[in-house]
Point group: C2
Chain length 130, copies 2
């Protein structure tokens, strides 16, 4: 899968919004954006990023799915390079479907089942096989 | 200035929180975090990141200052590598003071005065002289 974060802003002459340029996008704008699988079904929304503290590299986008108003929802960290932006969908596309997502590593945000370094290796391994 | 996003989690045996590991931190956790100048004065809080769409690199942390509940506040994009985390302060330190910040490029988030590519060059130039 190629990484493509192009947006409609590159395709027409509309004024750029404050929270987006040709090259960059605000974390506030990405959070809450829908994520669609390769079959077109909505898989969830982006809840947050995981950022490498030293380099500033966004390593994972955390996809949120299920629950009610954020309570009881599952969190699926997806490697950033698995996401590409679709202007037509106004959302991100991933090369997954619901079944593949449900088998992916996740955490519920509670206690010891957090997203730690060991878990990040597990995530990387999973997506390297997709 | 060295980039150092180490946190107290590396200094003790406390369980890692879900939104932070030794290497990574959640965008949700950084947003709202205080930023202090080199004289110890609080300059503002981090409102958001600007992320390179293609690479996933966090280019700027946007410092918010002034206004009331986000209305009328100014936004100062600061290159990510200018920030380092201080466990003692529970916040980020920058090698600026209030005077230097007030001279830095900013935007108010309204209309044409947005953060565009031309503005990002202006920001880079300003901080390269600090």
């Amino acid at each position: 899968m190629t990484t493509d974060f192009n947006t409609t802003n590159q395709d027409n002459a509309a004024p750029l919004e404050t929270d987006e340029t040709n090259d960059m996008i605000s974390s506030r704008k990405v959070q809450g954006t829908a994520v669609y699988g390769h079959d077109g079904a909505k898989l969830g929304t982006i809840e947050s990023f995981m950022v490498n503290k030293a380099s500033g590299q966004v390593e994972y986008a955390v996809l949120e799915f299920g629950g009610l108003f954020g309570i009881g929802s599952d969190h699926y960290p997806i490697p950033w390079n698995q996401l590409r932006y679709s202007p037509d969908e106004s959302g991100y596309l991933v090369d997954l479907d619901r079944d593949a997502l449900e088998k992916a590593p996740k955490y519920d945000g509670a206690g010891d089942d957090g997203f730690n370094t060991a878990r990040s290796h597990e995530v990387d391994t999973y997506y390297s096989t997709i």
